[in-house]
């Protein structure tokens, strides 16, 4: 016999499908929903539906957007000659927070991983190559592509694969540096990062 009434069990099961939500959290969320006023629940449902209805991928950079092209790709103040390639939309957000990067982005939605069955054809690469042509980039020639995939073996493989595609096209291809987080104490840095930073030290 079910511990809870069927609709409650159904809701708990749905929450449990979500990433990072275990049985206890799912139960807590379900009970929270049951206590909410009807209007709050409606608002939540609207938000869920709206995100499904309105959000799609930008046809130029594959970022999540409600307008196409997205706000970055259509902005007149961004430098169209630089493209920064990231794995996921939230990586883009991390770079955007610096406020120092003024170029465009390209989101791959993944990284190469034969073990997980992810090959280049499953990454969003086609429109990246297309963007390198000035006629597809509002007449601007792309001078540099920054590869900002994650510092994992999969991210590295993706960067290497892309560099082999891009370099023959004559576009400058760079990889983000790895090392110490700035503004924090040395004592908080893990051994592996510290080791990399020591190995990549430079003359001052």
């Amino acid at each position: 016999m079910l511990e809870y009434a069927e609709p409650v069990t159904k809701l708990i099961d749905e929450f449990k499908r979500l990433p990072g939500i275990g049985s206890k959290s799912a139960q807590r969320l379900a009970f929270h929903i049951m206590r909410l006023p009807e209007a709050d629940v409606e608002r939540l449902i609207d938000a869920l539906q709206e995100v499904k209805r309105k959000i799609r991928l930008c046809s130029e950079c594959n970022n999540l957007t409600d307008v196409d092209p997205c706000r970055f790709c259509s902005s007149p103040t961004r430098d169209r000659s630089i493209i920064c390639v990231v794995e996921e939309p939230y990586n883009l957000v991390a770079i955007e927070k610096t406020r120092s990067y003024r170029g465009l982005y390209h989101v791959l939605h993944g990284s190469l991983s034969p073990v997980r069955g992810i090959g280049p054809e499953m990454l969003r690469l086609d429109n990246l190559l297309a963007r390198l042509k000035p006629e597809n980039n509002q007449g601007v020639k792309v001078k540099e592509v920054i590869l900002a995939t994650n510092p994992t073996t999969e991210g590295e493989a993706t960067a290497i694969y892309l560099s082999h595609l891009l370099k023959p096209l004559g576009v400058r291809t760079t990889r983000i540096a790895m090392g110490m987080p700035v503004g924090s104490d040395l004592e908080y840095v893990d051994e592996v990062t510290m080791d990399k930073a020591l190995a990549n030290r430079h003359e001052i």
Partner: protein, 387 residues
């Protein structure tokens, strides 16, 4: 570093608290009483792992839901720390001075080198055991090496999957060449790091290797790269890259990665002959002890102190003379823990040494013999003078 005491709760058949001698500890008793379990408990305290099983929950006493080992470790004259490993269900909790710590912060507080039945694979088994021996040694000196190893293995897994797909006809050869490129580039980079780290470690081992500790036979070791004889090893990265390109058709045919330091070996020769094929059981044990002693020395010359040395079943295939040489060599260097089922054999040699004897009966340590009592009181004296 010095393990002053060890308290064990529901770990295998052990219980109780033991104060250890700073020099030599001899744990003796009949078979099946739990001698090795005491070494395993020390090993667990140091590494948070068991040398017998990869599933720590197996070590929790049957019917109990939790086990712990807790030890007091003297780091220097004025600094002691309480370390604790608690096993509960599938989880493992680590504590330093009663406060929970991350694995990375916990490890390294207590270093051990263990001579056990499983470690005999180094001199008897496949090259993998010898590569693990070297990697363990490198890791003790260079903690970030763990990431290099993990990355290398991950790259190998990815590469092997691609090669498998070609073998199964799901991926065209030409396409595979292109897809393998990013993995081979990383393999060359990480493989070179591993090769250099191991070469350097073997050089250090050789510098302190006591070739003739056990008599006139000479034990020699040499790192045996799988690329030996294939070109100029001094520019390993270039050679590895060349070989990766050259052997690609063979790898595609085989369906797995054939080139890299995961195919390397440590050559161990006993009077010029391969110990694995030609060594007697006793010679193999002797050679492994020499390797462990060298590892102890290398750690000492790098960090300024000796790890603990655990020797399980010391008298199996090691004669009285060799045991005598070994204990003489260790005196004043390491804090040593040995187990034996023949206490008499040890006693003859150790009566004039700094030593404590512990008899194990059904998991409990009992000071039953007169020697044991004498050793225990001697030991208390040592600890009084320490504290």
């Amino acid at each position: 570093m010095l393990l002053e005491s060890l308290e064990v709760h529901q770990f295998r058949n052990l219980s109780g608290k033991v104060f250890w001698h700073s020099n030599l500890n001899i744990i003796y008793g009949d078979n099946g009483q739990g001698k090795t379990n005491w070494l395993e408990a020390i090993y667990l305290l140091a590494t948070s792992k068991s040398f017998r099983t990869s599933r720590p929950q197996e070590t929790i006493r049957f019917g109990a839901n939790l086990a712990f080992v807790r030890g007091r470790v003297r780091q220097s004259e004025a600094v002691s720390r309480d370390l604790q490993v608690t096993l509960q269900g599938n989880s493992k909790l680590l504590f330093v001075n009663g406060k929970k710590e991350q694995t990375s912060a916990y490890l390294g507080q207590l270093q051990v080198i263990a001579f056990t039945a499983d470690e005999l694979e180094v001199v008897r088994g496949a090259p993998e055991a010898r590569r693990r021996f070297l990697d363990r040694g490198v890791l003790a000196l260079h903690h970030a090496y763990i990431q290099t190893l993990a990355d290398y293995n991950q790259v190998l897994r990815q590469k092997n999957r691609l090669l498998q797909e070609v073998a199964e006809g799901r991926l065209a050869v030409e396409r595979a060449r292109e897809l393998l490129l990013p993995w081979n580039e990383q393999l060359a980079e990480l493989g070179t790091e591993i090769h250099c780290a191991r070469i350097d470690y073997v050089k250090r081992l050789n510098a302190v290797f006591e070739k003739k500790l056990f008599g006139r036979e000479e034990v020699t070791i040499r790192y045996l790269s799988s690329l030996e004889g294939k070109g100029d090893l001094s520019d390993y990265r270039l050679l590895l890259t060349e070989r990766l390109n050259l052997r690609l058709p063979a790898e595609i045919a085989a369906g797995c990665a054939l080139v890299g330091p995961h195919r390397d070996d440590l050559e161990i020769l006993f009077d010029g002959r391969d110990i694995r094929a030609y060594g007697s059981a006793g010679q193999q044990r002797s050679a492994l002890i020499l390797l462990d002693l060298a590892a102890l020395s290398v750690y000492h010359s790098w960090c300024g102190e000796y790890p603990l040395f655990l020797i399980d079943d010391i008298d199996a295939e090691l004669d009285r003379k060799r045991i005598g040489h070994l204990l003489e060599y260790l005196e004043g260097r390491t804090q040593t823990f040995i187990t034996t089922s023949k206490a008499d054999l040890i006693r003859g040699y150790s009566s004039d040494q700094q030593v404590a004897l512990y008899e194990v009966k059904e998991g409990l340590i009992v000071p039953s013999s007169s020697e044991g009592v004498r050793a225990a009181s001697q030991m208390e004296g040592v600890f009084r003078s320490l504290s």
